[in-house]
């Protein structure tokens, strides 16, 4: 198909859409011979004039909305002033961990730490406590941010309650932790340069106080825990030592293990002697025909006595009526083990307490100012464009999405 110079009058609708386009009530505009009055685009003209009333009204509303937005954003709207500061929460690292990372892009632990603190600050600085600290007098807060003519919409009405005040306070500040650098950007806005600057400074003081308080609180908790552990270990050592002393007082200073060893060797000696005597007795019995001969009876008596003595010694060592050296040795060993363990526990607890004290001193965090707040020299103008474009955005969304949905519903 080549371009047609003109298809006056005789142009039959060849386009497949054409039959669908013919609708009841569509009015023909102008000369039917022109290309625009063909069946392909009757909707254009029908929209232009057929339903002019409805379109006009929606257009009027849209135009009025845009006009009102423009008047408010560029005319009536009060000046806003912004003060911005940037800081980082730094935690000194020991030289071993402060070394550079293998890949430069990996976030170091100090960045992560600052980022984490920044997220805490993000919540804390928007809390009611901070609002009360910065504006202890509610009346002065209301007065500072009271609406002023001709802009009666922005500001804090005089009859606003605590929730409204807190919500308004939150809107006046933005705490944005920077993911890559760990820096925290604090932006405050107000209706005068002085207020914005003062609010930023007050919030910085609150941030400083928060960081210090958190550090001190953590350090104090860690120190208290470590000291408690030392005291506990000391108590245990004292108790174990006292038990060992009591045992030794009761059973003397002798070493049960040594004594047991001596008794064993003593019995072994007796048994050795018994073996010798038994050999001698057997020899005498072979020499003398009479088994009751005095020489034989003498040795036999010695053997019996020695056996009795050995049995007595054994009973003394392990029997119920004796000293029961096995039990005593076990008990002594346990008590000495307890004392040794308590001593090591105390040593570990003291080392941990010492480390905790040093760590708590080392891990103190500091707010390092990267950019101090400056007194705004002029009002912030970007909000006007942003607000106006946002209004246009609302219109575009309503037209784009709403109109699209309506068309789909109508066609469905």
């Amino acid at each position: 198909m080549t371009e047609q110079p003109r298809a006056r009058g005789s142009a039959e609708p060849q386009h497949p859409l054409a039959p669908r386009r013919v609708q009841q009530g569509v009015r023909w505009i102008g000369d039917k011979g022109t290309e625009l009055s063909t069946l392909a685009l009757p909707r254009i003209r029908s929209r232009m004039e057929g339903s002019l009333g409805s379109l006009f009204s929606s257009r009027t509303i849209a135009a009025a909305f845009v006009l009102c937005s423009a008047i408010y954003c560029f005319g009536i709207g009060r000046d806003r002033y912004q003060a911005t500061s940037e800081f980082v929460i730094k935690q000194p690292l020991p030289p071993a961990t402060a070394a550079t990372t293998v890949l430069g892009s990996l976030q170091s632990s100090s960045v992560m730490s600052s980022l984490e603190d920044g997220r805490y600050l993000q919540v804390y600085l928007k809390s009611n406590d901070v609002k009360q600290s910065v504006f202890p007098d509610s009346a002065s807060f209301l007065k500072s941010y009271a609406p002023q003519a001709p802009d009666r919409w922005s500001g804090l009405p005089a009859d606003s309650d605590e929730q409204d005040q807190l919500a308004f306070f939150r809107n006046q500040l933005a705490v944005v932790p920077q993911e890559l650098s760990g820096a925290i950007v604090l932006t405050t806005s107000a209706y005068s340069a002085e207020d914005a600057f003062a609010l930023n400074n007050a919030l910085l003081k609150q941030a400083q106080r928060f960081v210090n308080e958190v550090n001190q609180s953590i350090s104090a908790d860690q120190q208290a825990f470590a000291e408690k552990q030392v005291a506990f270990a000391q108590d245990r050592l004292t108790k174990a030592s006292n038990e060992l002393e009591a045992f030794q007082d009761r059973y003397g200073q002798l070493d049960p293990l040594g004594e047991q060893s001596a008794t064993t060797s003593f019995i072994s000696g007796l048994e050795s002697r018994l073996v010798d005597l038994k050999v001698e007795e057997a020899s005498l019995r072979r020499q003398y025909r009479d088994p009751d001969a005095p020489e034989v009876a003498f040795v036999a008596d010695q053997v019996r006595e020695l056996q009795r003595q050995i049995q007595e010694e054994r009973d003394k060592a392990v029997g119920a009526d004796g000293r029961d050296l096995n039990k005593l040795a076990t008990q002594a060993s346990r008590l000495q083990g307890d004392v040794e363990f308590a001593r090591q526990s105390l040593s570990s607890a003291m080392t941990a307490a010492d480390n905790s004290r040093m760590e708590s001193q080392r891990q103190l965090k500091f707010i390092v100012m990267l950019s101090k707040p400056q007194m705004p020299t002029g009002p912030e103008a970007s909000w006007r464009w942003k607000a106006f474009l946002s209004c246009l955005g609302v219109l575009v969304v309503i037209w784009g999405v709403g109109g699209f949905m309506l068309t789909a519903l109508r066609r469905d």
Binding site: Q4, L17, I44, L389, M405
Partner: protein, 273 residues
């Protein structure tokens, strides 16, 4: 003096009428395309909207299955929806510009309708479809989580418009140049379908890439568009190496060259392929 003023007024009025008439033509063509598409699709008029929506849901499901790493600064669904909506809008606009003119030859029977009008109409309907999807996903997630955060709505508007004009500009450039050098059309299609998918930051955030890797993806203006959209939802979302100026320059340059090539070669496009 008065007659001169009235002549200028008349000229302005005539110019305005022409612009309004051309706008109405584009709107009407857009509506006609909407109807054609709804007739072609299986699900009627709602299919036009829900087919891209289903694609987005598929990619979201894929993300959940593969457990791709995203960021905790934005809701993962919104984060992914931003990338997919912008990329697919750009892709559809660009590819439609490449192929759409030859399919609309019958419409050029009407002298008022020019190839550019059909391209604008396609761009308009794609922008509305993908904008609607973005709005639905955003409001759906916001209502689900009961948190509503748009830090910079003006930026969203600008970013969206620039992306539409970028797609249109790239498509028109490739269309006109491709008429003379067909290989350009093939290369552009390949670039839009393959290369852009992996360099537009749909599945990753720029700031999670190591510094030396970033220049390999930040040449892509669509990455700037996607990341700026995410940044405008939450200003804490970091955008290293991303700038609105770059997107603006790319968009204006592509549009400018596209229009220049178009008006120099309009007659070529009007003729049958």
């Amino acid at each position: 003096m008065n007659s001169a003023m009235s002549r200028v007024g008349m000229r302005l009025r005539e110019g305005l009428d022409r612009v309004l008439l051309q706008t109405r033509i584009v709107l009407a063509l857009s509506e006609a395309e909407f109807v054609l598409r709804s007739e072609k699709g299986s699900f009627g008029v709602w299919g036009v909207l829900f087919e891209p929506f289903a694609l987005m849901m598929t990619l979201l499901a894929l993300r959940i299955l593969v457990r791709l790493k995203s960021t905790d600064l934005l809701n993962p669904v919104i984060w992914l929806a931003c990338g997919i909506a912008m990329l697919y809008m750009f892709r559809k606009i660009g590819i439609k510009a490449l192929t759409g003119v030859s399919k609309k030859q019958k419409l050029f029977f009407y002298r008022r309708i020019r190839p550019l009008d059909t391209l604008l109409a396609s761009a308009l309907i794609e922008a509305r479809i993908h904008g609607s999807i973005l709005v639905f996903v955003f409001f759906g997630v916001s209502f689900w989580n009961w948190t509503f955060q748009i830090d910079d709505p003006a930026m969203i508007l600008i970013d969206f418009m620039l992306t539409v004009s970028l797609g249109l500009g790239v498509g028109v450039c490739a269309l006109v140049v491709g008429h003379r050098l067909p290989i350009v059309k093939t290369l552009t299609k390949f670039g839009i379908n393959r290369v852009l998918l992996w360099t537009s930051g749909i599945f990753y955030a720029t700031y999670t890439l190591p510094g030396p890797m970033r220049p390999y993806v930040t040449w892509n203006p669509l990455l700037h568009s996607v990341e700026l959209l995410r940044h405008s939802l939450n200003t804490a979302y970091p955008i290293p190496g991303i700038s609105l100026q770059y997107l603006m320059v790319c968009s204006f340059l592509s549009c400018g060259f596209g229009l220049l090539f178009y008006f120099l070669n309009e007659a070529l496009l009007l003729s049958d392929d």
